[in-house]
Subunit: 440 residues, 2 copies
């Protein structure tokens, strides 16, 4: 993409209500625009990151055997009355009346609806286990939306639902999602620690939050330091036994504020005790028959007896992750994108548009990176060199290639690694090569 | 995907309210489930088709130079009051009051909001032309939703908005979208004819609907027969002059019912007069300053004088297209998917699961097609051969490969072309080859 043709409306001033880094940088880097409190337009740069995160989440769900579908945003209140949640959910639920005076709502989550889909079609234990997911916009009418996309009202969530015949089988599904989440967050370039969590309005008796540690985190979390650096499971057989992955993590202490047990925490060797601020980016629940019992979602077992399906649900905050990743990866000059989710693979800066050689070399590098599938951004705008460099730092592409008359005198361009700040002079072809190899 | 692990809940009975083929087949083939009137869950098979259509629409928009972003579903009423549409839109607009008693709505379209985005950021003629689009769920509270996803209440639309300095430039943007739409529909495997159209609640003085001809169409359309078989423009330079593409089509008569001129129509040679039922799948509008004037969306021209941006909008009904394609491509046994949007590239039927050779050969074909990226569906379920064949016909994959003991005796499998019904016996490797070549 050429910057001259793109739509990248940067802000010079930081809006005063943006109190955390991700909110500030997303506004300043032209990633989002607020339309109403907690409701945002995803401008092209922000939209690209959102889509990349969504795709990684999708691929890891598919690997784990979950099947994608899509439920609507607007739901009938009837299902929520069956489970008792229509009254219980409170003012965070956006309640709607349609033209025929039917009670509707904008789904804040989908346990009730997926249970209805399940009971409509699934009759036999032979069809289990089943894990279904969708990636859809949700709405929670937060009293005080804040922190930009981290606590917005309209937000994009991936939610998976598992159906099993027995609790034992349901725990296997839980372990699949547990492992899939570890891989997902690792691919997104963040360290998310699974922590014992409160189940809140979803309910159930087994629940983990996946938490990024960041100063701006909304709540305090406590864990064994080793959990932070633990490698993801990687290539695993999702049909096999995954309990060791679950056990390995949960044998070490990790809990959110609500579930914190100071006495247990004190038993960790002191140098391994970590208390920090955390951002929840995923949350998984096992809740058995909480929805399937009132909604009569039963299947026949092998003896022909009806059994209530045992369920779990598994959420990842896709839009929230855009903010979460920035909270975990930025400096005083702007965002530092992990390579897996960067909106463009590299930025090529033509420091002097109109200068023949500067034009030719920057175009050539740009075209080679396009051909290599790196999806570069070419800054072909006229303007001061200082503006160009600070703009590139702000939007945080992993590599910056600066092309200008001064360097070209001895045939070189400057490549900067955004994360380390390291700069190197090299030939244009070496620069292309370096970037291509980084994405190979 | 293996059918035994998939979620494909077929219906034996056709619900009585499904009066058109696409609605019937989408329900029977387990593509959708109705949740409320005009509101559907996209089950896995339907979701795959929806995503494929979305991706083709996206790619053709990108080729034309439109830039993707994403606006939210919930909008503040304030913007709509600025343009006067809040009162004008009528009961089809789903009006919502949030917990702080603010007037909101579920966007039925986005002219008002995109104009607000534009005026917030764009200041100079140098930033024009600009074409921005998003693919987002919309809601229109139809009084009587019907025809399944063809006239639902919650529906997925691609809407593009163009901003130009002058009407002349705006017409160039209009022509870009005109050409891009012709290519889009051709890639989707359908013949959509651009027809002079009424502008309805969007407004403006230049408008075309893109219409599929199908018996179940909602309205009558009239056109010169040659338009139906005209080739799409294909690879064009979107920076160049595209007016010839526009002129070539619009020089022949084509109009929707509202714009029909019987006298003009009668001038077409009689054997070229075509009057038929049509389904609108795209609609493009030039409306100048209808939104930009009241919302004061101005840019500075080269003389430093403020000029009101000239706008157009361009919609494609992505979810409606799933139904539209089926209306245009089905027979009495089920759906016939065009290769570009088929949910799976081919179906492999193991006619006798448990039979060693039948298992081995069907698995081998399946694995080879997976490796080739054809994304096959393997019917590995026990059950009658008749059920297997009729299920495959119903879901409409372009190729069916039947593997059973009888054929394997002389080393052959049967390949059926769903569209032509033609059946051929060949070796398993020949079958793989045939399918791979069809998608190459």
């Amino acid at each position: 993409m050429r910057l001259s043709r793109y739509f990248l409306p940067l802000l010079k001033e930081t809006p005063s209500d943006a109190t955390v880094a991700s909110h500030r940088y997303m506004l300043r880097a032209g990633m989002i625009k607020q339309n109403s409190a907690g409701i945002y337009t995803w401008l092209p740069l922000g939209h690209k990151v959102l889509k990349k995160i969504e795709q990684i989440v999708r691929e890891e769900q598919n690997k784990a055997g979950a099947i994608e579908m899509l439920m609507p945003t607007i739901q009938s209140a009837e299902l929520w009355k069956e489970t008792g949640r229509f009254d219980a959910y409170g003012p965070e639920m956006l309640r709607i009346t349609d033209r025929h005076d039917r009670e509707m709502l904008y789904g804040p989550t989908n346990e009730d609806m997926i249970t209805d889909v399940f009971r409509s079609f699934v009759r036999s234990y032979k069809d289990l286990p089943k894990m279904l997911y969708h990636i859809q916009w949700k709405f929670r009418d937060e009293r005080r939306p804040r922190f930009g996309v981290m606590r917005g009202r309209e937000f994009l969530m991936k939610d998976t639902y598992s159906f099993d015949l027995t609790k034992e089988d349901a725990v296997k599904s839980y372990n699949k999602m547990f492992a899939a989440y570890l891989n997902t967050f690792a691919r997104l370039g963040i360290k998310a620690v699974p922590m014992k969590a409160d189940t809140g309005p979803i309910g159930g008796d087994l629940s983990h939050e996946f938490v990024i540690l960041a100063e701006s985190g909304e709540s305090e979390v406590f864990c064994h330091r080793d959990l932070v650096e633990m490698d993801p499971p990687g290539d695993v057989d999702f049909e096999g036994d995954l309990s060791h992955i679950f056990k390995e993590r949960t044998s070490l202490y990790a809990a959110t504020e609500e579930m914190h047990d100071a006495e247990e925490f004190a038993k960790i060797p002191e140098d391994k005790q970590l208390s920090a601020r955390g951002i929840e980016v995923g949350h998984i629940f096992y809740f058995g028959d909480k929805y399937s019992a009132p909604m009569k979602a039963t299947v026949m077992d092998s003896d022909g007896k009806p059994q209530t399906a045992m369920m779990g649900s598994y959420g990842i905050g896709v839009s929230r992750l855009v903010g979460g990743i920035i909270e975990a990866s930025h400096d005083e000059n702007g965002i530092i994108w992990p390579k897996s989710v960067t909106p463009f693979g590299a930025g090529v800066m033509n420091l002097k548009p109109g200068h023949d050689e500067s034009d030719a070399v920057s175009e050539d590098i740009y075209n080679k990176l396009v051909a290599a599938g790196v999806d570069p951004l070419l800054d072909d705008e006229k303007g001061s060199i200082g503006v160009k460099f600070s703009r590139m730092d702000l939007i945080g592409l992993p590599f910056q290639i600066a092309v200008g008359p001064r360097g070209l005198k001895d045939g070189s361009v400057e490549v900067k690694d955004r994360a380390t700040g390291e700069k190197q002079n090299m030939t244009p072809d070496e620069a292309v090569d370096l970037v291509m190899k980084a994405y190979a």
